[in-house]
């Protein structure tokens, strides 16, 4: 196999950035993730002090994340000229009341570039550098989901609409190639190997309408999931919060019988629900904004049935293939199922390039522990589930 050449890539991009920018100053949007950090280090190498790094606190970050990122980027080996801009109020307002995943993503994108238009004006910058990578524009252009950092590829002129030109040095790389560039640039491993975190952050991990209560619960659940799954090192692992509410469906019987056969558990001990919240998927290269099937199966003694991941994924394949409109299957992992307005889904996946993915083998002891801890930390949460869906038909994130 011919390897991707990080060294040649960096040299080529540094030359190109110098050519485009000349002596101009440029802004870069930094999130603390591997894409934007790599991009910042690369651009910093090209233009040095003419680069202004901006971290926007959207309010959709994890516990302690804004402070952690600013410290990591601004000091130590990276020492980038970073500044934090607090926009929590603006972003929460921009998303208020929106339920549809694409509407939420577009509202986030609008708030994001509005913020940069202001900053660029104040700083007198005509260029915005961003760490957009191949899957970002492929998914946006293909109509699968709108990434917040894609404009030109879908025909929106950044100059006309926001007053700055875009530079996207990583636009043709995949995640694993970006990580190679990051390692070559000596980006600390806490960042170069860090799992992806979406630009719109936790706002796309609250399924449907974003509220402060849901965000608060999600922050706690996310911390539990990150602590407990870190040593298993799936390529991505996180928590999602959904309303614990059912959609009325006539296919419930069919779901129940497919699930019962696939799990090898008699139908009266299998419960299949279709949740009200919708989740994004991709079927045959087409966006599928569909339903989530929440499964529970019990053993004869009434305790939770704990099938292998293979059994669960094969049940998922049969359910999605047999019931149109379904994009995701989740399986209950908390022994307890109590009254509550919300439920939490744990998602962990294995992938190389994030274009396809399968659910990670987490093991029941870890799943049980995670579930107990989440129920302990989040009183409004009724139960905890594990997402057993591959990509396709689901995407990695829920929205």
């Amino acid at each position: 196999m011919q390897d991707f050449e990080a060294k040649a890539f960096v040299k080529g991009q540094v030359d190109e950035i110098r050519k485009v920018l000349g002596k101009e100053r440029a802004l870069i949007a930094c999130s603390g993730g591997v894409d934007s950090t790599t991009c910042a280090v690369l651009t910093h190498r090209a233009i040095g002090r003419e680069l202004v790094c901006v971290f926007i606190d959207t309010g959709f970050m994890r516990l302690g994340e804004p402070e952690r990122v600013v410290k990591m980027l601004g000091s130590g080996p990276l020492s980038l000229p970073i500044r934090l801009v607090d926009m929590r109020k603006e972003f929460l307002e921009a998303l208020a009341g929106l339920e549809d995943a694409e509407e939420k993503r577009k509202a986030f994108r609008g708030a994001f570039y509005d913020a940069f238009r202001e900053i660029a004006r104040k700083e007198g910058c005509r260029f915005l550098v961003q760490g957009t990578i191949a899957p970002d524009w492929i998914e946006t252009k293909g109509g699968i989901k709108t990434q917040h950092n894609v404009l030109e590829q879908i025909g929106i002129s950044a100059v006309e609409k926001y007053g700055f030109k875009l530079i996207e040095p990583l636009a043709y790389l995949y995640k694993d190639q970006v990580r190679e560039v990051a390692r070559y640039l000596k980006v600390p491993s806490a960042i170069s190997e860090r799992q992806p975190f979406p630009g719109p952050g936790l706002s796309v991990r609250v399924v449907g309408t974003v509220t402060e209560e849901k965000l608060g619960m999600l922050k706690k659940a996310s911390q539990v999931v990150e602590e407990e799954l870190e040593r298993l090192a799936p390529e991505q692992y996180f928590a999602v919060v959904m309303e614990d509410a059912d959609e009325k469906r006539e296919t419930l019987d069919k779901l129940q019988s497919i699930a019962s056969r696939a799990l090898g558990v008699s139908e009266r001990r299998v419960k299949a629900r279709v949740l009200k919240g919708r989740a994004t998927g991709v079927k045959g290269d087409i966006r599928a904004y569909g339903r989530v099937c929440a499964l529970t199966a019990l053993d004869e003694d009434g305790s939770l049935h704990k099938p292998s991941l293979d059994t669960l994924t094969s049940a998922q394949v049969k359910l999605v293939s047999g019931v149109p409109g379904l994009t995701r299957v989740i399986y209950r992992t908390s022994e307890e199922e109590r009254r509550g307005s919300l439920l939490v889904v744990v998602r962990a996946i294995r992938t190389r390039d994030f274009m396809t993915a399968d659910p990670a083998e987490v093991g029941w002891s870890v799943l049980s522990k995670v579930s107990k801890r989440i129920l302990g930390a989040c009183p409004p949460v009724s139960s905890v589930y594990y997402d057993v869906t591959s990509k396709p038909p689901a995407t990695i994130e829920f929205e």
Partner: protein, 201 residues
Amino acid sequence: MSVPVVNLGGQYNHLICRMLTELGVESELLSPDLTLQDLREKGAIGLVLGGSPKSMPEDLISLGNLQSIIHDIKIPVLGICLGHQFLGVSFGGVVQRALRPEFGPARVYVDAEDDILEGMGRSFVAWLSHNDELVRLPDELEALAHSRNCRIQAVKHRARPIYGVQFHPEVVHTRGGDQVFRNFLKVCRGRRPRSGSLPYS
């Protein structure tokens, strides 16, 4: 030496280029409006048709020049997903909505390995993402593989170096998917296909 990929708009078309580049040939995405002259100028030794959200035969018209050149092209062709369905339809086969569409993993059973599935074993786990499927083949095409929910997972032309696969060999989750491209490149580099009569040599 180049093996371009016709970009029909699918999510994985860029991954096909990446896979081919990793296997040591040049590759780039081309628009479906390409001509045989374009291919000659690029020194193409093979052509891959990628996947797409489009549907056959309704969207045939949007596939540009592909429809007319497919009958005259001399270099080897590999169709993937929609590319595979397009080949089927172009030679007179029938594509329909799948009764049980496949998304994610499925086991593919090899009925005849021929050139393109050489070394894939009797069965393998492939990843798929399709709402439609080829349900009937013309005499010129022969089926090479099937899965539980899809009867025609791979095809070859009986007389020409033209192949199609419904699954996605370009995604890492398809076990041994790179082998399909190695096999295709072998044909592109001039190994005689098993079928005999060779209008392309």
